[in-house]
């Protein structure tokens, strides 16, 4: 998420920043949305069945029906709020993903419209097609039967392999590669800088571990598109089939082990070491290798498992800072502070395994 914010700095270099309201008002967004869709379609559009779908810390999601002379369309609007945890936001990684992956083996919602400068709505946003189905909760022990979950988990791994098989040079993602420094090292430096902010609580193991990660970052087997938040909970499933991979805001080019390690974090698998609580680690790796043609390195995977926890710790600290320093009164942010001791201890153990 911080990466998304950082990349948006690059965007700001070329896109002049218009004057914007500081808070997203749902009614104002609805009015502006109707104006926007009317303009781009050339046909008067009314917004019905409109409502917020999430109350996350990052992008705000609205579901609605666009009603025009051509009929009704169920759509999704995602808005990057100016007061979000990782603002300012760039719409580009998500737009690139929906454009580049449309029609590929990686299912994504169809992109309808996007505006980095906010246009009528006033904040970065994109509109995509609504995809029917359910989003599984990553923290809950699902009540779905194990066979169902196995089918979904296998698709989940195969889709990741499909993503990593894509040549990023042939997609708009190539433009995300910037400068001489390796993107992986730049990302680690970004998190280290975030954790080093003077108002954040200092954790000695994170300081030391951040340096270790920077000094020991492995060479990548292949530079691929990395989703950046590939986990249970970031896809839609319908009738035993994954119909869309969601939340592409952290997409970047990098080491494919990063996605694999993130997906297998117990946090996203109801605290289980098995993917979705059903697929053993060895089975995941075997399936992924066969489907992607990429040999998984135990050492790289261990490195990225430690890195995943480091990122998780840094994200938690951003939330704590938002509550403590920026006085953003959302109690969920305050609660995140209580997760720090367990994350830091897990990080220390993961580093031991990676060293």
């Amino acid at each position: 998420m911080l990466e998304a914010a950082k990349r948006s700095d690059d965007v700001r270099d070329v896109v002049p920043e218009p004057a914007r309201p500081v808070v997203v008002n749902d009614d104002a967004v609805r009015t502006a949305l109707a104006q926007h869709l009317s303009r781009i379609s050339g046909s008067r559009t009314e917004i019905v069945s409109y409502g917020r779908k999430s109350s996350g810390f990052s992008w705000i999601t609205y579901a609605f029906v666009a009603r025009s002379a051509e009929g009704d369309r169920k759509l999704i609007l995602r808005v990057g709020p100016p007061n979000g945890l990782f603002a300012p936001y760039s719409v580009l990684p998500q737009v690139y993903a929906l454009q580049a992956l449309h029609g590929s083996d990686v299912p994504v919602p169809a992109l309808v419209s996007s505006e980095q400068d906010g246009a009528e709505i006033g904040f970065p946003f994109f509109i995509c097609a609504h995809v029917e189905g359910d989003v599984p909760a990553p923290w809950a022990a699902s009540e779905l039967d194990p066979d169902h979950k196995r089918a979904i988990a296998r698709q989940f791994v195969e889709i990741l392999a499909s993503l990593h098989r894509i040549d990023p040079g042939a997609t708009p993602f190539a433009s995300l590669q910037q400068g001489e420094q390796r993107a992986e090292l730049r990302a680690i430096s970004g998190w280290r800088a975030s954790l080093a902010r003077p108002t954040a609580r200092y954790y000695p193991l994170l300081d030391w571990g951040g340096r270790w990660l920077h000094d020991n970052c492995p060479q990548l087997p292949r530079r691929t598109i990395v989703h950046g938040d590939y986990r249970i909970g970031n896809f839609i499933e319908h009738e035993r089939k994954i119909t869309a991979i969601l939340d592409w805001e952290l997409t970047h080019l990098g080491d494919p082990h990063e996605d694999l390690a993130w997906a297998m974090m117990p946090t996203f698998n109801a605290r289980s070491r098995k993917l979705y609580g059903v697929l053993e680690r060895a089975e995941v790796i075997d399936l992924y290798q066969r489907a992607s043609g990429i040999a998984v390195s135990d050492k790289s995977l261990a490195f990225y498992e430690a890195y995943a926890l480091y990122q998780a710790a840094a994200i938690q600290m951003c939330a704590v800072r938002a509550f403590e320093v920026d006085r953003f009164n959302d109690m969920r942010l305050a609660v995140m502070a209580s997760q720090m001791p367990s994350i830091v201890r897990a990080f220390e153990r993961a580093l031991e395994a990676a060293a």
């Binding site: 989003v135 599984p136 909760a137 022990a141």
Partner: protein, 169 residues
Amino acid sequence: MSASFERLIDGIIDALQSHVVPNSRDDFVRGQVFSAIYALNGLKLGADWKVAPLLEQVHLQDETFAAVRRLAGSLTYPEIPATPRTQGDMPDVATIEALRDDGDRRLGQLLLWASGEGARAVNGDVATEIEHLLRRAICDQLKIELATTPKSMLQQIAGGERDGGAAPG
């Protein structure tokens, strides 16, 4: 949980006033919420974090500093404070918290030093021993914090659901 007890109480009160009260149509529920706000304001005036777990962390840090000093011998290492850092009258919570935070920074500097090229070049065995000692001690300190951490409610907090499960897409 939070670094500042008062800030946490303020956040809870604001969350109740901004999000719970406006969405409660039931007079009894609203009465309960306002009572909770009143009680929280009372806690703000008369309560603070428990001293004992913070003091335990400071003592553990002091023991670690002393152990590093013994092991390092004639090696040149980052500054270590004189220990024990708390003596006589019991300091207030803010003072102990500041000592703990200062101790964390110094432990971090020692860990970076012990695992760095410089110390390793002078005496690799001792540097490695100090690094392991520091890592163990810092993890032990985290265990003290974990003992005052309630059981996770991530599922309910993230989804706002009583029982979790699949959320509609």
